[in-house]
C-alpha cells in the first residue's frame, strides 16, 4: 500500500449547501506534504475536518491504511485519532485558557493511555523541547505565551499521540510573518524527524510551494486541479489555478506575473453554476463549459485537471480578460 490516507469521492453537504462535492486525492506515507488550497468557501477546511471525523460526511470514503474511517465508532474511532491529528488555525480557540499548558498536554497523553499520569509531566517536557519551547512553559497559561508559541503548543499536543499524519488547517494564517517563518521551519524539521505525512490546508500558495510535494486546488467544493506542486504552480492546467497564482503578491519584482482578473464574485454553493462551476468567471469559457460538467482527468503525467480546455491552458493560452464594466451587478443580481 503506497498511501496512508485515501480520500475517495468525499461529499459533505449542509442542507442545500454542497460544501464538498466529490473530492478525491491521496496522502502518501511520510515524510510527505500535500497542500489543499482554495479560497473562502472552497470547502478546504470541511475536507480537513471530515478526514479527522470532526465534521459529517454524507458520502464517499476516507481510507486509512485501507480501512474506511467514516464508519468508525467508539473505541475504533479513538484508536484512529492516535494516527491522524489536526492543528487548527487559531491556537487561542484550540487551547483551553483555564488550563496550564502542561495540563492541556497531559490530558491527551492520559486519555489515549500513552503514558501513566506519573510519567506525563516528563513526556510533556520532552514534547515542548521537541517544538523548541522552554519546558518551563508547562506551568504557564496560554495567555502568557505569544501566538507563535501557542501554535507550537498546539503542534506539540497533536504530536503527543505519535501520529503518522497531521491535518494542518491554516497553521500560520493568524501569525506575524516572522512567527510564520519559524513555524514553517518547525514543520519542515518535524516531517523529517518523525517521518510525518501532512495535509496542509492554506490559501497561501507560497507556503504550499515550500512545504508540499503535491497540491490539490479546490474550487466550490470540487477539485479543480491536482499535481506535483512546482509543476502545478509554474505550469497550471486549470484557469483558476493560473488566476490564483497570478494574484499572489511578490516582494521580488522579477517574480511578479501579469494578473489574471476573474469576472464577478465567487458563486454560491447553494446554487452552483451549471456545467463547469468555474465557467461564469473563466476567461476561456465556451458554450460547452456552460452545459457539460468537466470530469477530473489526467492531462499530463501525474496531473489531473477538471477543465475542458486544460491542454490549451497547459500550452500557455492567453487568459487575460477584458473586464466587464459592472461584473458584480450581473453576478450578484
Amino acid at each position: 500500500m503506497t498511501n496512508l490516507l485515501e480520500i475517495r469521492d468525499l461529499r459533505v453537504h449542509f442542507g442545500l449547501v454542497r460544501a464538498v462535492d466529490g473530492v478525491s486525492f491521496a496522502l502518501p506515507y511520510g515524510p510527505y506534504g500535500v497542500g489543499l488550497v482554495g479560497e473562502s468557501g472552497s470547502g478546504k477546511t470541511t475536507v480537513g475536518r471530515a478526514i479527522v471525523r470532526l465534521g459529517p460526511a454524507v458520502g464517499g470514503e476516507v481510507l486509512f491504511e485501507g480501512k474506511d474511517v467514516l464508519r468508525l465508532r467508539g473505541r475504533a474511532l479513538k484508536e484512529y485519532r492516535r494516527h491522524v491529528q489536526i492543528v487548527f488555525q487559531d491556537p487561542d480557540n484550540s487551547l483551553d485558557p483555564r488550563m496550564k499548558i502542561g495540563d492541556t498536554m497531559a490530558e491527551v497523553l492520559t486519555t489515549h493511555r500513552i503514558v501513566s499520569r506519573r510519567q506525563a509531566a516528563a513526556r510533556v517536557r520532552d514534547l515542548l523541547e521537541e517544538v523548541a519551547l522552554d519546558p518551563a512553559f508547562a506551568s504557564r497559561f496560554p495567555h502568557q505565551l505569544s501566538g507563535g508559541q501557542r501554535q507550537r503548543v498546539a503542534i506539540a499536543r497533536a504530536l503527543a499521540v505519535g501520529p503518522e499524519a497531521l491535518v494542518l488547517d491554516e497553521p500560520t494564517s493568524a501569525l506575524d510573518v516572522t512567527a510564520q517563518a519559524r513555524i514553517l521551519a518547525l514543520i519542515k524539521r518535524l516531517r523529517e524527524e518523525r517521518k510525518l505525512a501532512y495535509l496542509l490546508i492554506t490559501h497561501n500558495l507560497a507556503v504550499v510551494s515550500e512545504l508540499c510535494e503535491m497540491t490539490v486546488v479546490l474550487y466550490l467544493g470540487k477539485v479543480a486541479e491536482l499535481g506535483a506542486t512546482g509543476e502545478l504552480l509554474f505550469h497550471p492546467a486549470h484557469p483558476y489555478t493560473a488566476a490564483l497564482r497570478s494574484a499572489v503578491p511578490e516582494v521580488d519584482r522579477a517574480a511578479r506575473l501579469a494578473r489574471i482578473a476573474l469576472a464577478g464574485e465567487p458563486p454560491s454553493a447553494v446554487s452552483p453554476p451549471s456545467g463547469c462551476v468555474f465557467h461564469p468567471r473563466c476567461p476561456l469559457c465556451i458554450d460547452r463549459c456552460r452545459v457539460e460538467v468537466p470530469v477530473l482527468r489526467e492531462v499530463a503525467a501525474g496531473r489531473m485537471a477538471a477543465c475542458h480546455r486544460a491542454e490549451e491552458v497547459l500550452a500557455g493560452a492567453d487568459l487575460s480578460l477584458v473586464r466587464d464594466v459592472m461584473p458584480d451587478g450581473a453576478a450578484a443580481g
Partner: protein, 261 residues
C-alpha cells in the same frame, strides 16, 4: 508641502511609549506603506492621525499636519469635520465596519449627509457614481451588509471615501481578510485612486509583498519606531536595517523545488 506631515509624534499609555515617530510624510497621489508586525504601533499611529488616540486614553505629543493644518490639539468638533470628510479610513474587516441592521444605501447616504452632500437626490447620485467607479452595481445599495461578500463590502468602503471626496485615505490592513484574487481587485482600485483622484493613501500592512507591489514609499516600524523609510523599491532591494532584512527574509516565496531537504 506634503498632504500629511507627521513630525516627532509620541504616543504613550501612562509610562509606556507605544509610538515614537520622527518623521513620516504622505503626498498627494502617493501611497505610503506602514509595515511592521503586531504591536509595532502602526494602528496607533493611524488613530492619532484621526484624532482618536486620546479618546483611547493615550497621551499624544508632537505634530500631525494635514495640508499644513495642525491636527494635534484641535477640539473634537473640528476633528469631526476632518475625520470622514477629508481623512477617510477603511478597515481590515469590512464585515465589522458596517452595521448589519441597515441597508448599505442607508449607511452610505448617512455618511454623505453628515458631511454635507447637499440634497438627498445629490447624495444618491454621488453614491451611485461612486459605486460604479469601484465596479459595483448601484443595485447593491438596496442590500444588507451580510448579503454581500467581503470583497464587495471593502469596495463599498472605498466608494464611501470616494463619494466624500477625501484627500487622505487611511487603509488599515484592507486586504488581510480577503481572498487573494479579491485582494488583487482591491489593490488595483487603490492604484486607480492614486492615479485618477490624486488621493494620498497611508497603507497599513504586515504583508511586505503587498506593500512591495502597491506602495511608492514604505516605512518599516518596530516597537513604535520607524527603523527604515524610503522608496519601496530601494528599501526592498537594499534594506539598511537588520530588522527590515529579517522581515523580508521571512516572507514566504513561491519556489519551484518545493520541500528542501
Amino acid at each position: 508641502m506634503s498632504l500629511l506631515e507627521i513630525c516627532g509624534l509620541r504616543i504613550a499609555f501612562g509610562e509606556r511609549l507605544v509610538v515614537d515617530m520622527d518623521r513620516l510624510e504622505v503626498d498627494r497621489a502617493q501611497i505610503v506603506g506602514l509595515a511592521g508586525e503586531s504591536g509595532s504601533g502602526k494602528s496607533m499611529t493611524t488613530m492619532a492621525v484621526l484624532g482618536l488616540a486620546d479618546t483611547m486614553g493615550a497621551r499624544v505629543e508632537g505634530s500631525i499636519r494635514l495640508d499644513g493644518q495642525e491636527l494635534i490639539g484641535l477640539p473634537q468638533h473640528a476633528l469631526r469635520e476632518i475625520r470622514g470628510r477629508r481623512v477617510a479610513m477603511i478597515f481590515q474587516s469590512p464585515g465589522l465596519a458596517f452595521n448589519p441592521v441597515f441597508r448599505v444605501g442607508k449607511i452610505f447616504l448617512q455618511a454623505l449627509e453628515l458631511h454635507g452632500a447637499g440634497s438627498r437626490s445629490e447624495a444618491e447620485e454621488r453614491a451611485a457614481a461612486a459605486l460604479r467607479s469601484v465596479y459595483l452595481s448601484p443595485e447593491l445599495l438596496n442590500r444588507y451588509p451580510w448579503q454581500l461578500s467581503g470583497g464587495q463590502l471593502q469596495r463599498i468602503s472605498i466608494a464611501i471615501a470616494l463619494a466624500l471626496r477625501c484627500d487622505l485615505l487611511i487603509a488599515d490592513e484592507p486586504t488581510s481578510a480577503l481572498d487573494v484574487t479579491v485582494q488583487g481587485d482591491v489593490l488595483e482600485l487603490l492604484r486607480g485612486l492614486r492615479e485618477e483622484r490624486e488621493i494620498g493613501i497611508l497603507f497599513i500592512s504586515h504583508d511586505l509583498a503587498v506593500v512591495a507591489e502597491l506602495c511608492d514609499q514604505v516605512a518599516i516600524m518596530r516597537s513604535g519606531r520607524v527603523v527604515e523609510f524610503g522608496p519601496t523599491d530601494q528599501v526592498i532591494a537594499d534594506p539598511q536595517d537588520a530588522y527590515t532584512r529579517e522581515l523580508l527574509a521571512a516572507v514566504p516565496k513561491i519556489v519551484y523545488r518545493g520541500v528542501s531537504r
